[in-house]
Symmetry: D2
Subunit: 361 residues, 4 copies
């Protein structure tokens, strides 16, 4: 387990925020699949920092070097390894806080788990920066899936109290699915996006942060993929998604709110579509029944907690002396992680689906 | 994957609702641990049907026979296998519906996945009955953990629109944690329980069903268990929980609602307790930071959808003819699954923690 | 790991020699495959004890009860569980030796590993009896593979100093491959078999035992199955074969002796066969190159050590007192395990190939 | 599986012979372990080519860059990634043979497996060069184990018909165990080494190659490590060793020859040593009984086939035209791989033991 995930396509993520580099190895890849590195770079750019008011000022090129598994623009089938060098790191930002665990971060738990040997600079292996190699893997997965008719997209569903429409409430065409990814701010509705940015700016100005929700979906996944019980599609996606720092919950289809519905409201009636195929009228089940895909769009929503690093003063404890202390985290931190997490969630869903595709295609 | 789960302690669940029997094999067990079979049976009884108005009339003894791995009341360290025979099954209840997939069930997806060879009687391998062996494994895990100071409990947090208090809002002692499990109806607050039962009865009388939420917790888990990224405690628990049919979402600590909070509200300040140990003032993080336990109570909440089998007529499609059809599911079905799912969720959490215990103790 | 094996088709073996029962769960099975239980029973009979002078007098029906995963004679795709009840056990044969570890057995290592909690009766989970559920899984795998044109067979290659011909020295047709399995004594050459039986009888009369070698093969496996490095076909087969007690070594194709050859002798030249397909003139590579199948017969040979339980007096140590002791193992033990291990090795090869078939078909 | 191996410590190897680089990621590492990079480099040098008459003239620095998981000379516990850049590659050596599969190589099987997309330059991912990252992982494992009292060594047991003494025939002290690794030619007995070199030179002069055997051992492993059946120490080691190209067989302790012995000859009697500890008089079992360590030295022997790339003309088939062809492999190839494979086998054993150490320490 640890920083490895997958059944057939296995990804292994490595690296620390301020070390020699971060990267990913993708094992069990299909061979002969074309990968467009410019398209991959464009996808990576959606996650990159320094994009606007809501994002840290740290500049990262995040250009992955493909070390193996790719020849003449096509996968060879051997493990595909990608490396991103670290640069523009300010380690001294962190040294002052070596013994002061930041609330909401892994500083304290990592100290106990690794007995002080962990790389604490910039959050080390726990840094949000480690989502960059996840995006490399996801960007590659997205390209392969798209060529085979499976499209994966995501959008920012909410920031604080500002929400926009869910995928299930629009006709989920490929255009609608991929729309948010093409916008500077990853929303479907421009006006909602404007208000979300205001919410973020408000938090920033008071030295605070704010959380948000992300909805991802996939269309083109045929019925019959997945396994019962622990090999279900939800199990697989969830076990991957919680690898993204700051995710606090995950729900499928109609989601947690299903608990408040009647069976007659939540059940999706089966019908035959214009092509004679069996599908459902509604999609409260989010494309998965009994752990197995139904052919309807896969719908998954996650909740991203507010950035734990805030300027506002917080209480903490010195891990050496066990004395109470005060902490204000300066550094360069997004007042809201959720917008930049949109492509990361999209990447995770694409990786889970590539793994399934290899198993069930 | 499929019906197997675990890292060190691996459980393999087998069986179909109306076949020869259902059961579980637990591999990687610790040796020399005492298991009290009466206590196990008492735990199983909490999940058993036929308990009241909210539960199916089907009688199941659900007495597991331990086939191996247990000698003179102690684990031998070899795989522990338990078998529950099937009985009191009315297969003819289902044959009429062979080609009419029930909305909200795995009937259609299983048909595609297994190409018609699946056992359709009583939901086959997808039946809620398969949670009985999960409870065997969980009941055993609970006993071992308790002897080592780790206690696992759960309660019914809501049914429809009726809620009771969350664990984080009470001082979570072992007594409070285990209280709901001792009640006939698995709640902390009797009055809330009474209103939940009314909600269930209302649904039943109109041939409908209703969903609910379950909160589980564990106390006594030390800081430092778990791995970063995909080996995190959330990832492990989630990948197991979604093996329980009808779970639509999972959240940790404060949960999905974290997205609506500010960082200053959601962050849990570190303090030193009376014994000089580092802990947090609040527990919005649910005992897990960066995938690793913090020593605070583990808090996990899941949402259970309304029972999909309802008497109310629904639209479906004949899988052979692809013609539209109407369906009313008679049979003996709980109008609300959530109460009986409480020990199942508790079992799943205990299994995940036993696996972690073996890895990190 | 432990008593679980497999990538797609995962087998989980449970049970102890004198407990409630032994069995196997096969997860990840294909659905809709016909299984003939009489044919399975006939395969099991090849391994059963009590067959002649070379075999223990303990009678075992070894009739597996299929608990799940099989409906109307076809696999459902759900985990297939099989149970064999234990019977005719004489536990008191063993109690006298509780603290005297038998040389060549796992008594001492199990004592250390499980801290005395292991079931010591009849070797417990380490008993050769646990190869019965392996044969259930293998017998099922053989049937499925045969229907798809892949045939698996094995024969007794040697007993002590008596050898018979290797598969690579005969034209390996299905008839030749399956011939030994149809004989009362599992050899290709009747005369060699007669001399092997003499070798076994000689060992028995002096209260001693003797080892042997087994060769297994598969034909009909297409080129292109398997993965590089650790996912190679040799790695997979070896990791399964060493689960059979008493196996001391494994070799593929020409085997260990390749070390004594020149490259020009060991290399298999490529040629085009009468159908225009690429194959090799010789098969020193045993059907596997770079971990991937070549389309030539898979050839694997294992060495089985002499039965460690012998009547002859041996030196041992009392595990409680650490005092020297003498031991003569009475009980009912085969003077040579190898003949009965032939179907077990065949079963293991079939399981490994079923797993590969599910992955690469 | 594929190019990933391990239970707790998982290694993921990537790279192709002529690509951007090769490397390894080690997941699940212990934290706080000192790693001496000079010592690692010295270990790597034992495998490096260009050492003498028996080795290819290709120069490789093979200096690994540690990208992550190491800080101030100590493991952080996060995945440890190491990269070795490729250099001095002569791709044109290979292009002429694109369609002519070399006998004894994976050229043909890889063509079928990857449908022509594989990197064929220098053997791609199947190249013996991929044993360099295995040595990085193994060299690191050796250092950690040695600090905890476990020593791993190996020597060249034979080349063609020239043999030297087995470890079991000498008193296996740490000095004897590590001696061969310190010699320019990895043998215990200088005279035997001289004759092995002659054997190699003879093969080289006639444009041919020769095979050899390697014996590896470990001392200091306590009793009680490992699992029954498929989690046995032999299973683990074998599943890793066959990841080394050219390995044709593996045997433990006395090895394959056990089949020719009587039980009274092969059984190792238990005795109490001078410290009152239980051990065995002889070590035919190679330190493993029932898959679990006995506290005696672990002994494993492998057979390495003769280098398949030979100057001597061989028959092959053009994979495009299916016409017969002749092939002489020029290039720079060792006439005997076995000497350089000695540290690789040592590395593999160390990796398997580090994984066990993490699980059972």
């Amino acid at each position: 387990m640890s920083s490895m995930w997958g059944n057939v396509v296995r990804i292994q993520i490595f690296g620390e925020s301020h070390g020699g580099g971060i990267g990913v190895v993708m094992d069990g890849m299909p061979s002969g699949e074309a990968i467009d590195l410019d398209e991959l770079q464009a996808f990576m750019a959606r996650r990159a920092p320094g994009q606007g008011a809501y994002s840290t000022a740290r500049k990262e090129a995040d250009a992955p070097e493909i070390l193996s598994g790719l020849l003449d623009g096509h996968t060879t089938g051997a493990p595909l390894a990608a490396l991103i060098r670290n640069a523009d790191t300010r380690s001294k930002d962190y040294s002052a806080m070596r013994w002061l665990p930041r609330p909401g971060h892994a500083d304290y738990t990592a100290e106990v788990r690794y007995n002080g040997a962990q790389d604490t600079r910039g959050g080390g292996h726990f840094s949000g920066r480690l989502t960059a190699p996840l995006c490399v893997a996801g960007g590659i997965a997205k390209q392969i899936l798209a060529r085979h008719g499976i499209f994966v997209g995501a959008h920012l569903l909410s920031v604080g109290s500002v929400w926009e429409c869910e995928y299930n409430h629009i006709g989920l065409t490929a255009d609608e699915l991929l729309k948010a990814g093409k916008n500077a701010f990853p929303v479907l509705d421009e006006e909602a996006g404007r208000r979300m940015l205001e919410e973020i700016e408000t938090a920033r100005t008071i030295g605070d942060s704010v959380g948000g929700r992300i909805e991802a979906a996939a269309i083109g996944v045929p019925a019959g993929w997945g396994d019962p019980m622990f090999g279900g599609v939800e199990n697989r996606i969830a076990s991957l998604m919680f690898g993204i720092p700051a995710i606090r919950g995950i729900e499928f289809g109609y989601g947690m709110g299903a608990a408040e519905l009647r069976g007659s409201e939540h059940n999706d009636a089966f019908i035959t579509d214009e092509n004679g195929n069996i599908c459902t009228k509604t999609n409260n089940h989010g494309g998965i029944l009994g752990g197995i895909t139904s052919g309807m769009p896969i719908i998954v929503k996650v909740s991203v907690k507010p950035t734990p690093s805030i300027v506002k003063e917080q209480d903490t404890v010195n891990m050496q002396t066990h004395e109470n202390a005060k902490l204000s985290v300066p550094g360069r931190h997004d007042p809201c992680i959720a917008p930049r997490a949109v492509p990361v969630v999209e990447a995770a869903l694409a990786i889970a689906l590539l793994d399934l595709w290899m198993e069930f295609k």
